[in-house]
């Protein structure tokens, strides 16, 4: 073997105490100071029925019973106006009122939330189906799909979703405020009442 090819001496440095080296190096660490503090704010809680392509669970206790809403359209979307008790007797609102239980609902997939105005009256069979589905969803993941032929919902239980819903940290009151912001009808001058009366502003 030539001189150039001789084996390297693998012992490259004399032994030293690792802790002394670490003490020296530790002074180089810079604690990261995050001055930015973002706060994510919940700005939108949808109000409505769970769509037909998701499964849902309803919270067993977070609900508002004996509430009144009016279902209307805003463009192509459904809008549920929340009618406060004092306005229930208003002649333009009273015939349109729907008595509901507003239930906090978690949807799968994606763990989204919505406030679902579940009809309390069961005079229509579709309302009865909605009511039953919401009730069963307190324990199981359910799905509700409109069936044209039956003129009713098909209510089905999920085959194998074996995870529990994750509920939001915000209080139910906060969620109601966010969900119904601007659509709480609490006086006769509300734009929705004026619209129903045919008043052009």
């Amino acid at each position: 073997m030539s001189d150039d090819a001789k084996k390297p001496d693998l012992k490259v440095v004399p032994d030293k105490d690792p802790s002394a080296i670490f003490d020296d190096l530790a002074t180089l660490r810079k604690e990261s100071k995050l001055t930015v503090k973002r706060k994510t704010i919940l700005v939108n809680v949808p109000v409505g029925k769970p769509p037909g392509n998701v499964h849902f669970r309803t919270h067993p206790t977070l609900k508002l019973e004996n509430a009144t809403v009016i279902k209307d359209k805003e463009g192509t979307s459904d809008v549920f106006y929340f009618i406060v008790p004092a306005m229930r007797g208003h002649p333009k609102l009273a015939p349109r009122l729907r008595w509901v239980t507003i239930m906090l609902t978690c949807v799968w997939p994606g763990n989204g939330y919505l406030l679902w105005p579940v009809p309390e009256k069961t005079t229509f069979k579709a309302w009865k189906s909605e009511n039953t589905a919401a009730d069963k969803a307190q324990k199981d993941w359910m799905q509700m799909v409109w069936n044209e032929e039956k003129n009713d919902y098909d209510v089905e239980k999920a085959e194998s979703i074996d995870i529990e819903p994750i509920w939001p940290k915000e209080s139910f009151e906060e969620l109601l405020k966010i969900g119904f912001a601007d659509i709480i009808v609490d006086n006769a001058d509300h734009y929705y009442v004026r619209r129903l009366r045919g008043i052009i502003d």
Partner: protein
């Protein structure tokens, strides 16, 4: 060697800290072990202007560097790992302080895509060499042709005429002149971190000098000479679509196949089908009929064994440049134009690793290094608890409701959660998670939501880190590795930066401490180390290295120790292929190839 703790310095005044600043450059050729043979050295002291120019015979007479290398001095050298290897070759003790303009230039431009890669070479990879750095700072630079000619002259001769000697020494001096000019333009904001980088370059020099020991007899005398026959054997066996002509891949045949099968296939900007090995690998997840082709190309058919053979020295060690600080997160990216780093090759080939006589080769891995770093840095109590309680991916499965807390680990569920946990570090989309796990998009979205719920502190921190980086226009690892943030910086890069750059910090710390306290590191490999130890000191060396790795991890995470696992122990005269478990990745193929080579299966096949 000092980390440079203590005095703080601002740009410029760092010079006052040192009594002497020696700019040093060696010219060298390579020996049969790919180690440098110093040809000459030029050094100039910055304050006094004193110079030293020595030819090889004069260098060999010295027992230490002919300039002050003590704590009050600093040695400046561009890509100093090469210069320090010359110190080794000459038997000189290392300088206490090293400042490397190659690294500090990277620090100055890291992430700034407006300056690097150069606007007229956007496809260029890697880091600026000396000439590039000079151009970047608008300093006069010699031509690349001149540099190439001189390099060839030095490398291709072992005796030089008086004229060549004069030219080489001039060239040597010019390199120092250039380094001095370059350093004058570099903003050394924090000399302590700069010296830390230099100290790491010393560790790299030690690691590059050692290299990975291989069974060179098997590799050079059995495997390499039969390489084409081995490739042909596998091609004949696995090339279901007849895309090869002998050992040559015929691209047109794959184009025809893609068209005939109606496969959706990614194309290059010029409209041609992408035929990279990685592309075929990804396509095989969509079209399983491509799996054997993907495996064939990745594992053997496209491997150029010569690139591995080129790294093996007469002493049986494989040495490949580690290319420190090569990635934006400060990690190494070992490679060279005509060389391949053995750990980057398919696992089956790692079987060739074999310690020298009387030694053991040991692989020590960090366990879930990146999750530990983000858990520690974010301070998320749930994530920290999950790391401390064992397997982070399984712990997440439990938190996500995919498994009962007291259930035994279900590896299928655990493996589904792994890409979710990794992906959430850098903002992987539900599409990415679905593709990785082969689960539905709905499942992926749900898992993302569950991860956010399980680790809210981490998610808040991750968002804050990204926002802070945008405000500061820079993001910095715990040990000072920084990335300049511009409008071009991807959010995902920022999300992942601290996990990767923190990992890089850990590797640097371990390399420094371990090599300085006498542990022989054969190679750092992403989040693992291969070390060599005499057989009679094996247990104590493993214990010491484990302790060093754990402590380094703890330093970076801010208190959370990163666990270390001994992944492999190979004792001479065995090689890794002799001791790997039969179900270890690549082991079956290692055995198969060896059987083919040794039992004549190749000849039969190649004559078919």
């Amino acid at each position: 060697m000092s980390a440079g703790s203590g005095a703080s310095s601002t740009n410029g005044d760092w010079r006052q800290r040192f009594r002497s600043i020696w700019h040093v450059d060696f010219e060298y050729r390579e020996d049969a072990n790919h180690l440098p043979i110093p040809v000459c050295m030029y050094a100039r002291e910055e304050h006094s202007g004193a110079t030293i120019s020595l030819w090889r015979d004069e260098l060999l007479r010295l027992t230490h560097a002919p300039f002050d290398t003590g704590p009050d001095s600093v040695m400046v050298a561009f890509a100093s790992n090469a210069e320090l290897q010359c110190f080794f070759a000459l038997g000189w003790p290392f300088p206490t302080n090293v400042l490397d303009p190659y690294v500090e230039n990277i620090v100055a431009i890291n992430g700034n895509t407006t300056v690097w890669p150069p606007p007229d070479e956007k496809g260029r990879k890697g880091r600026p060499g000396l000439l590039d750095a000079l151009k970047l700072h608008e300093l006069p630079a010699r031509s690349q042709e001149h540099k190439d000619r001189m390099r060839d002259m030095i490398l291709k001769n072992d005796h030089y005429t008086p004229e060549q000697r004069r030219e080489i020494q001039n060239y040597n001096k010019e390199d120092v002149d250039d380094t001095i000019a370059l350093l004058g333009t570099l903003p050394i904001d924090n000399i302590n971190h700069a010296l830390f980088h230099g100290r790491y370059m010393a560790a790299v020099a030690r690691e590059e000098r050692v290299g990975l020991p291989v069974d060179s007899e098997y590799l050079l005398d059995e495997l390499a000479p039969n390489w084409d026959a081995i490739r042909l054997h596998y091609i004949q066996r696995d090339d279901e679509f007849h895309l090869y002509d002998g050992v040559n891949f015929v691209e047109e045949r794959l184009w025809d196949l893609i068209k005939a099968m109606g496969w959706d296939w990614p194309r290059t900007p010029t409209g041609r089908y992408q035929l990279k090995i990685a592309t075929i690998g990804r396509q095989a997840t969509r079209y399983p009929e491509l799996k054997s082709l993907a495996r064939l190309r990745d594992q053997i058919a496209e491997l150029r064994i010569n690139k591995l053979v080129n790294t093996v020295g007469a002493d049986g060690f494989s040495r490949c440049p580690l290319l420190p600080f090569w990635t934006i997160t400060g990690r190494n990216q070992p490679s060279a134009r005509d060389k391949m780093f053995l750990p980057s090759l398919p696992k089956w080939l790692h079987g060739v690793l074999k310690p020298p006589r009387g030694m053991a080769l040991v692989e020590l891995d960090f366990v879930a290094e990146e999750p530990a770093i983000v858990a520690g840095l974010s301070g998320d109590p749930a994530m920290i608890a999950d790391y401390q309680n064992g397997d982070v991916h399984w712990q997440f499965a439990v938190r996500a409701g995919l498994a009962a807390p007291d259930a035994a680990v279900d590896h299928h569920i655990r493996d589904l959660c792994k890409p979710v946990c990794h992906g959430m570090n850098y903002g992987m989309t539900p599409y990415g998670i679905a593709a990785k796990t082969k689960k539905s998009l709905d499942w992926a979205r749900e898992m993302q939501a569950r991860h956010r719920y399980a680790y809210p502190v981490f998610h808040q921190w991750r968002g804050d880190v990204v926002a802070q980086a945008h405000f500061d226009e820079v993001i910095t690892s715990p040990f000072g590795w920084r990335l300049i943030v511009t409008a071009d910086t991807k959010t995902r890069t920022l999300m992942n930066f601290l996990a990767q750059a923190g990992g890089s910090d850990v590797m640097r710390l371990v390399s420094i401490v371990a090599t300085e306290c006498g542990i022989t590191i054969a190679a750092p490999v992403h989040d693992a180390f291969w070390i060599l130890a005499p057989l009679d000191e094996l247990d104590t060396t493993i214990a010491r290295m484990t302790e060093i790795m754990t402590e380094a991890g703890q330093l970076v995470t801010g208190g959370l120790p990163i666990r270390v696992k001994v992944e492999a122990v190979v004792r001479w005269p065995q090689c890794l292929g002799d001791v790997r478990k039969p179900d270890a990745k690549g082991q079956a193929m290692w055995c198969e190839v060896r059987e083919l080579v040794r039992n004549g299966g190749l000849q039969k096949t190649s004559h078919v």
